[in-house]
């Protein structure tokens, strides 16, 4: 049985400031099989994969390949051991063409110069094998997300690898592209490759997987071969218990915010188009926007926060408003908690208190006493676990940092709260706490609009859910109907139209 294990991770422990990402994990990878890794966002899947790919080192624990202990200090060393990874965030060089992308770091040379003809022919054959012939000289920046992913796969095919790690490979793919991928994966498996596959989509996991491992909060909570795995088995282990009850809708008939024909036309090739989005937001409701990567959920929120140009009409209490800048949005009582709190939210140099108070200071001088009282009150209301608000914001855990950002928005007494992935990188306990806070806020009359890529979150939190697919509203669902299947089906593109017609049609 041990011969069957190509790679083993023993007692892997990894900690980041404020959060234990992996808590003494034992993970075994079965040879010549599709090893599925499942878990919610923040469960530690990506961290584990980055360790296997040599991008990060564990704080403790050891890795064994073919039973021999190894250390992976860099991606290069992982590659030398035959481990290749396709990252969740694509690692494409937009400024280079396909051959250059595929052979980056592994150029073929002839008399010290790059052997372009050989590179090109290998590129072409790798792309052909993926069923998506593209010219080797195509600039990567002109490709859709889905095609960029295929290029990454082609990179691995061109170099040969024993162990292929795919981190949410289908999150940006259309169904036909995903089908192509599944076909390629089974072909690769039969040619002797071992695959580690991470995804949220249960149906494709059940379709593809041979061995299943479930992660929750940095621990492995289930491990079984395909024959012993059912949908319920996965869901129970992922969520760690019964699903949270969603509140009954408390919406009132007159909409607070009306969005009519909101359209975003891309300004450059990396943007996503939104087409004629029309919906209402009611006082006291929690409207969830569910969609896959690239569906336009972030863009919609940014438009409503005044951070992105769009056409269409927005009315607030039946008065048309112009959301031409973030300042305008704030003036109208719209506040946004951004998706990436490290990049777009927190100021790491400032204290918790200063981070909360940021943006709601008015007049020339800061009224310290007033600020002190209000931040203290909010920290108490939101249960921010800190002995002292004057400590650096970086001393807080992910969940508490998120609550601090929420507090910042609430300082301005908004009427509409926008949240982009409200619990990304937050542990399960804090997650439930944030859900409860949002429900309390909604009950007090705040209108909440949030986006999520997690089915469980949309189900747990939303009193109504809009599903976005490729920049359009696919459907609107209300609680008894917000099922896994309904969300999946509506969010998955049925046809495979290119994400940006102009850049694709010529390929």
């Amino acid at each position: 049985m041990t011969d069957d294990i190509i790679l083993e991770a023993r007692s892997i422990f990894k900690q980041y400031p404020g959060v234990t990402a992996l808590d003494k994990i034992h993970f075994r990878v079965h040879r010549n099989a599709v090893n599925v890794l499942i878990g919610e966002n923040g469960a530690g899947k990506s961290t584990l994969m980055r360790i296997l790919a040599g991008v990060e080192s564990p704080d403790a624990g050891e890795l064994l390949i073919e039973g021999r202990p190894i250390t992976l200090r860099s991606p290069r060393e992982a590659t030398a051991h035959g481990i290749a990874i396709v990252h969740q965030e694509l690692s494409i060089f937009p400024n280079l063409d396909l051959s250059e992308n595929i052979f980056a770091g592994r150029e073929l040379t002839h008399h010290a110069l790059i052997d372009r003809p050989t590179e090109d022919s290998r590129t072409t054959s790798a792309l052909d094998r993926l069923g998506k012939p593209m010219a080797a000289t195509t600039q990567a920046s002109t490709l859709s997300l889905g095609r960029r992913q295929l290029v990454e796969l082609a990179r691995i095919l061109a170099h040969g690898a024993k162990l292929l790690i795919l981190d949410e490979p289908t999150s940006a793919l259309s169904l036909t592209e995903a089908d192509t991928l599944f076909r390629v994966l089974s072909e690769l498996k039969s040619s002797g490759l071992t695959i580690i596959y991470i995804s949220h989509r249960l149906h494709e996991l059940l379709h593809l997987g041979d061995h299943f491992t479930v992660l929750r909060n940095g621990r492995i909570v289930g491990e079984a071969p395909r024959t012993n795995v059912t949908r319920t088995w996965i869901v129970e282990r992922m969520s760690g218990g019964p699903q949270t009850e969603a509140l009954a809708p408390t919406s009132t008939p007159t909409p607070l915010l009306t969005v009519t024909n909101l359209t975003i036309t891309p300004q450059d090739d990396n943007e996503i188009t939104l087409t004629n989005l029309t919906f209402n937001l009611y006082k006291g409701e929690i409207l969830g926007i569910y969609g896959l990567l690239g569906s336009g959920r972030t863009e919609l929120l940014e438009a409503l926060a005044g951070a992105r140009r769009f056409t269409g009409t927005i009315t607030l209490n039946n008065h048309p408003i112009h959301l031409t800048s973030t300042t305008a949005a704030v003036k109208h009582g719209i506040a946004l908690v951004p998706e990436d709190r490290q990049r777009d939210g927190l100021i790491p140099e400032l204290s918790i208190r200063e981070n909360i108070a940021l943006g709601s200071m008015q007049g020339f001088f800061i009224n310290r006493t007033d600020q002190h009282q209000r931040t203290q009150q909010l920290a108490r209301d939101l249960n921010i676990a800190a002995p002292n608000l004057d400590r650096p914001i970086t001393t807080l855990s992910g969940g508490n940092q998120q609550k601090a950002l929420l507090a910042r928005c609430l300082m301005r007494n908004p009427t509409i709260l926008l949240l982009d992935e409200p619990t990304r990188g937050v542990d399960a306990g804090a997650k439930l706490e944030i859900y409860n806070i949002l429900r309390t806020l909604a009950a007090k009359g705040l209108a909440i609009l949030f986006t999520s890529s997690e089915i469980e979150e949309t189900q747990a939190l939303a009193t109504r859910a809009l599903v976005l697919c490729q920049g359009r509203i696919a459907t609107t669902l209300t609680p008894p109907h917000i099922t896994d299947e309904a969300l999946f089906t509506a969010a998955s593109p049925n046809i495979s139209p290119p994400s940006s017609p102009s850049s694709e049609a010529v390929l």
Binding site: F93, G105, T142
Partner: protein
């Protein structure tokens, strides 16, 4: 950016890409029309010498800028290298006796100075993640200060050397001609050609573009980012040292203030040539054109007798305009070409 399929579309794209060349041709047309002496052999020779200086610096600078960095220290490094050459030709006193190293040794020592200064830049930037702007700003002062210290603030005169010390011949580097073309022009052309080949056709060159395009992805692809960056700064330092040598050779003296504000000319040439300061996009060829534009502009304005102060203003305007066009390019190009080609594509589908 889409690749247009029609002939007119391609022609349009080519025109956009070649706008620096266009600018150069327009400038040449204007100056030759307004000044009868512009297209004389004498003037062109002077022009070529000036351009070869900024072209050399721009060549090294392009490599650095392609990685997403910047090198503000090239002017000072040029000054320091010239001083090192001046010091050695005028005799190095060690332990009571004075040594006069032969010219090849002098040149090597000056080049080594440039390479070391570049290596110091590169190490700080690549190994210790100090911002390139800050690191090379520091080196700008360090190299200039060192040049002043070595020369005690004075000029080293008489770099022609003497027969007695067997160190004559240094002036040939900057003053001689080969096939009727000044040697510095040959040097600049050869260095630029090598750099262009390296950038376009070698793994190292491709790694430069990869690091500038997406540093994270480059790391994941196993590219030695630190090594790539270090090498580009060393090469930039070497180009600067060559410039220092050429100028000292042309003047037959080494002045510690040589090369002041040269870095700005080099950056301007790089930017005019279409290289993005964000890294990952641009070419050596473009920077050569950029250096020519700046050189022709300066030379032409002198020929026309435009006031020296106006020359500075005009140069600034040209740089800012060129970069503005560059920034607008991708957006404008995308929209414009979309508008042009979308209907046809939809019809084809």
């Amino acid at each position: 950016m889409t690749t247009p399929t029609t002939l007119s579309g391609r022609a349009l794209l080519l025109l956009l890409k070649l706008r620096a060349v266009l600018m150069l041709l327009i400038l040449l047309a204007i100056f030759s029309a307004l000044s009868p002496t512009f297209f004389t052999a004498n003037n062109l020779s002077i022009l070529a010498k000036h351009v070869s200086i900024s072209a050399l610096l721009a060549t090294g600078m392009t490599l650095v800028v392609l990685t997403g960095g910047i090198d503000l220290s090239v002017g000072s490094i040029a000054g320091l290298s010239g001083i090192v050459a001046g010091l050695l030709i005028n005799g190095l006193t060690l332990g009571g006796s004075t040594h006069y190293p032969p010219i090849p040794v002098v040149i090597l020592a000056a080049l080594l100075t440039g390479a070391l200064a570049g290596a110091a830049n590169g190490l700080l930037i690549a190994r210790f993640s100090v911002a390139p702007f800050i690191t090379t700003l520091g080196m700008l002062y360090i190299a200039r200060g060192t040049a002043l210290l070595l020369s005690n603030g004075h000029t080293f005169p008489n770099l022609a050397g003497s027969q007695a010390h067997h160190n004559t011949g240094f002036p040939a580097l900057g003053q001689s001609f080969l096939l009727g073309i000044p040697t510095p022009v040959w040097i600049a052309l050869i260095i630029a050609a090598i750099a262009a080949l390296v950038a376009a056709r070698t793994p190292f060159g491709r790694h430069i573009y990869a690091v500038g395009g997406n540093e994270r992805a480059a790391r994941l692809a196993g590219i030695h980012i630190a090594r790539v960056k270090l090498l580009t700064y060393i090469l930039s330092g070497l180009c600067a040292a060559l410039v220092g040598l050429i100028i000292a050779s042309q003047l037959e003296s080494a002045h510690p203030a040589t090369g002041e504000s040269f870095e700005l000319n080099a950056i301007a040439a790089v930017v005019l040539g279409g290289t993005s300061l964000m890294g990952g996009r641009g070419s050596i060829g473009g920077s050569l054109i950029g250096a020519l534009v700046i050189g022709v502009l300066a030379d032409g304005l002198v020929m026309l007798g435009v006031s020296e102060f106006w020359q500075i203003v005009i140069k600034g305007v040209v740089i800012v305009l060129a970069v503005t066009v560059d920034q607008l390019q991708s957006r404008v190009q995308f929209r414009f070409l979309n508008a042009l080609f979308r209907p046809k594509q939809e019809a084809a589908q």
